[in-house]
Symmetry: C2
Subunit: 345 residues, 2 copies
């Protein structure tokens, strides 16, 4: 089939030339050729799934071979969350929208970079800080969507007279300055103020939970807003859930089978030391999946953001492994900390 016939069918958009997202058709077709792929798996995060039929049609049209594309229908919330069933079935597997957490021969990562200029809002954010003569040191982090502009961001902070501090904090992170919802080690910096450049509250709230001693300033180029991150409502809810779980007489310890969220040893260690605890293995951690069980409380060894962000949706208290140790009296209450996720796969 031809590119144009496909495009007509999907509303006439020439997505191949869509300036909003360059999804690197050339790199994909080259990989199809070099692997002699017949079946090509495509995985999109939730926010990009709507484009999946058009991207699949474009790839089929551009390919030099007769291929079958297969779109992953499983939920996808990050590069920790690779559809391995489809990756195993496909000759080539393309994961869109995230940076690699772990390099793998069979997986091609096609990131999605924002086309919004991050520098004006960054300049605006710096004006909120004390002048560089008083507080010269500023940390800088961003998300995968803006990481392609990280050098320019650093130059902007320096041009304003500050000393910019950055690092690649962990193997789980793709590069210097990069943060994930589960890992903010790139902000482990000798600074009081960290500027987070990116859209939304999800990442900066995690950053503030992980680094409660730091001031987290949000420069949001998507909503064109400068604000401070506030983790207090989340932390209060964590204390609430810990207290509710202190009376639990039975515990479900959740182990996730998602390839980048497996903490089997941690989960197993908990049940080994608590006779009232049982392991539950699942891919998704949702209220529906737990509703039919009869445990008093749960520990989620998978994605910490399900625990901290979705807690109110669960009927029973859902704790991180660290919070669990507080609930059973192994750690004092003031050792509450963000459940940083380490390692790759």
């Amino acid at each position: 089939m031809t590119q144009s016939s496909r495009s007509d069918r999907f509303g006439g958009l020439e997505l191949r030339h869509d300036r909003e997202w360059n999804y690197e058709l050339d790199r994909i077709t080259e990989a199809i050729d070099s692997r002699e792929a017949d079946t090509v798996g495509l995985q999109f995060p939730e926010g990009l799934k709507r484009t999946a039929p058009r991207v699949a049609a474009d790839i089929e049209g551009a390919a030099n071979r007769d291929i079958t594309t297969v779109i992953s229908g499983d939920p996808c919330y990050g590069s920790c969350d690779i559809d391995m069933a489809l990756a195993r079935r496909a000759d080539l597997f393309v994961h869109f929208g995230h940076l690699p957490m772990s390099e793998n021969d069979g997986i091609l990562y096609v990131p999605l970079f924002s086309n919004v200029d991050p520098l004006p809002i960054l300049e605006e954010a710096l004006e909120e800080l004390a002048p560089p003569e008083e507080l010269p040191d500023v940390g800088l982090v961003t998300t995968a969507q803006h990481i392609n502009m990280f050098d320019e961001m650093k130059a902007t902070v320096e041009a304003a007279g500050y000393t910019v501090h950055t690092r690649r904090g962990a193997e789980r992170l793709s590069q210097e300055g990069h943060v994930l919802g589960c890992n903010y080690a790139s902000a482990d910096l000798p600074v009081e103020h960290v500027v987070y450049l990116g859209g939304g509250k999800f990442h900066p709230v995690g950053l503030a939970m992980e680094h409660p001693d730091k001031h987290v300033l949000i420069a949001d180029p998507v909503n064109n807003l400068v604000t401070d991150a506030d983790a207090d409502p989340f932390i209060k809810q964590r204390y609430g859930d810990i207290h509710r779980a202190m009376d639990a007489e039975s515990w479900g310890i959740i182990f996730s089978t998602k390839i980048g969220q497996e903490r089997w040893e941690l989960a197993q260690e908990i049940v080994t030391n608590n006779e009232a605890a049982h392991l539950i293995s699942t891919d998704e951690v949702t209220p529906d999946r737990l509703r039919n069980f009869d445990f008093d409380a749960y520990v989620n060894t998978a994605c910490p953001r399900v625990t901290t962000d979705d807690a109110a949706r669960f009927d029973e208290p859902l704790l991180t492994p660290g919070e669990y140790r507080i609930a059973i009296g192994e750690k004092p209450l003031d050792e509450l900390a963000f459940d940083t996720y380490h390692g790759t796969w």
Copy 2:
């Protein structure tokens, strides 16, 4: 840990001696011994998940070895729906509540048989039929929950003067007389009347969809009711969905990764012959999983009962493969048929 300490913690029930469900602790502990299993995976259908902590505690208490049990948290709707991620991780995998669809060395099936006497309601049902002198031939089918009493049921029908017809219709079915939600080949019998013995409407409605020429009489020992199965509301909805899908300009063809629901060739054949169709690979087929895509209509090659029973919950029309052929004009409307699922795995 001891059996009694576990039982105390889970409410003092001695489930090992629970007369409502003999879950064959001896057979499980023997399998643990013979495999020298350290990790034992346990999978329960939704209706039995509430008992999972107690069953897991009983197994740990009864085992002669120090074992770790792991309960599957994924949804489970039948013996087509084995948690293979857990089965691969565990040394022994126990699937509760269903009969084997396919024998597998690593999987132990522990069925759940009803303790309700099926014979009184069966006798009552037979009184609804014409007397044996007028219509001597009666078919008989039942579900996994009552199949242990199948010989007694057959004898009851014969004692009433009828000639009872039974068969094991397909490899997918465990034995003579057994029906599944997706396969009613055990009712492919030279009779006008089929007596279905079992609780609820799910199976007899499927049976009536598969065999629209037969009278399906329900003998429900759980609700103590005799009724006729009526598939008309479902069939009307199928026609409605087919008509809605006739205008579709883009199709999502759903392929399930559940081991007993994989119809890869069928799904691939559809996309090969329709340029407006794309494959979607997923484990669960739910409205949430499809909501972020932008297809006009979907074909579900996985569990047919999701299509026929949950249709109203989906935003776009969801068709069986046979209904799809009607919608695209390859088959006449009057060839609408139940999407019988064949084969094992």
